[in-house]
Subunit: 300 residues, 2 copies
């Protein structure tokens, strides 16, 4: 088995902050197709988050085909019965890549959560090393605790954001997208203030957090990934009324622009496995973040 | 000497993020007038930051008079010669309160930096315990290292913000205003990334950081004060080209909404001196911030 094949078996996640380039250099979608296996890849496109699934299918079918994928498979899920269709689920289980479009993550989870399709996606990732991609709503949906809804006001506001049960490809984190463009730091701080167990991840537009499970992470595209760690935080959030602004002291903030790359500390002795350019000294402050998103959690 | 008089001798700063309420409850300007001595107070109004000094003078003369100040003194500084006028400087040296309006902090410093008026303001604060207030540009100008100019883009950008020499009522910090409303966190992170010696302070509109020198701080008004501490930060900012986005790891962020109040640790045994509601246990993560802004630095 070659090193390249070995790497693919880890499984990758390509978590995109929305509005990824589809016209020019297509950096992020190219990387996704490459991680799916390039010209050998069969890619399933799940449009269930969107109210305009036909348009979404045409958009991604075209770009993945342009980028050289061998085959694309339309996974239209108008209802939960379809998400429990055994034949369609088997096609997803056998896919090299699975891509979730934008739309509304609540809609996506309402269709897919707990279905055969859900189980097939986990199986493809964890047993066959498939690559799972998602943009915008499709990015948020990757977490176990999913940011479902919430105001993005100027300041954090207790009770203004709700979480839901996501797909759980990553745990102990919560993902927001269109992050800098829609000024969502206050919203992410609201989540972290009330749920300091979760590390907050904000992904900018045309930017992706690329995760190689068990190995490391990389940021690609045009913007940055912001990480908010509230575990050392001192806060009065439990004592203030809903609607109030919590006092937050000692939130740890990390800004990881495109080009940032970090390996798990135990992987730095295996340089052939590292993401390109990965630092050989992941700072202590980032270790748990890298560990959480790269964790090879069991099939659920 | 009563405790109240004793407190006034410390000197106060009222550092306002702009757009303070002047029509309704006037919370911040009321507090300013009170800290100047209320009905006994003579308040000098410095309009040098503004290109419309007549309008600024009318605005603050009216509101300070409405709020019961005994006397207001117009300090119009059309040129540096006027800022070196001995008679006008003596009136400022003898004032109970000195207020700097909004406008452009570079204009204010170009008129006043290094003049008799500059020296008179420091003398009033440090030798007589006067209260210095400033809003917007007048807030930024209070620092030794003054945020002079800079883009507020979506992400920090190396080289996009310039500092200048400010009035130096507070040292080892840099102040930005209209903070949440104008989405200025990235700009403040730019300053802190390149100048980690400075703690970044972002003050929202209609919000003030009230400093009692040698004692403690309080946040009042409608919004919050954000503090950004980059001293533990790991960054590549020195190695990237101008215009690039720096990687920032382990920036400490504090959000202090109105109502937050902290005393210097050594002052908690003197409860009569504490700001109202001041916590008796200022978290370690905030101690240096409180220490820097309350420091009774010598007359310069």
């Amino acid at each position: 088995m070659t090193a390249a094949l070995d790497r693919r078996l880890h499984g990758h996640l390509v978590i995109i902050g929305g509005h990824e380039d589809r016209e020019n250099n297509k950096e992020i979608l190219s990387r996704f197709v490459e991680l799916c296996g390039g010209s050998k890849a069969t890619i399933a496109v799940i449009t269930a988050a969107s109210k305009v699934p036909d348009e979404m299918w045409r958009r991604y079918d075209q770009v993945f085909t342009e980028l050289g994928a061998r085959q694309t498979v339309r996974v239209d899920l108008p209802d939960r019965a379809t998400a429990n269709d055994a034949e369609l689920a088997e096609r997803v289980r056998a896919a090299d890549g699975i891509f979730m479009t934008g739309g509304d993550q609540k809609r996506l989870l309402a269709m897919i959560g707990g279905t055969l399709m859900d189980e097939a996606m986990h199986s493809a990732l964890k047993q066959r090393g498939a690559c799972i991609g998602g943009t915008s709503a499709g990015a948020s949906a990757m977490c176990g605790h999913m940011l479902a809804d919430g105001k993005a006001d100027l300041l954090p506001e207790k009770g203004s954001v709700s979480l839901g049960a996501g797909l759980g490809f990553v745990q102990r984190v919560v993902i927001d997208q269109h992050f800098s463009e829609r000024h969502r730091l206050a919203r992410l701080l609201t989540v972290v203030a009330q749920n300091p167990y979760l590390l907050g991840i904000g992904i900018d537009e045309d930017t992706a957090l690329v995760v190689e499970r068990g190995v490391g992470i990389e940021v690609i595209g045009a913007g940055s990934v912001t990480v908010v760690d509230g575990r050392m935080m001192i806060s009065n959030v439990a004592d203030i009324p809903a609607g109030g602004t919590p006092q937050l002291i000692d939130v740890r903030l990390h800004l990881l622009p495109a080009g940032s790359s970090f390996a798990l500390p135990e992987e730095i002795d295996h340089p052939h496995q590292l993401p390109p350019g990965a630092t050989r000294n992941t700072p202590d402050a980032l270790t748990d973040f890298v560990r959480n998103v790269t964790k090879r959690n069991p099939v659920s």
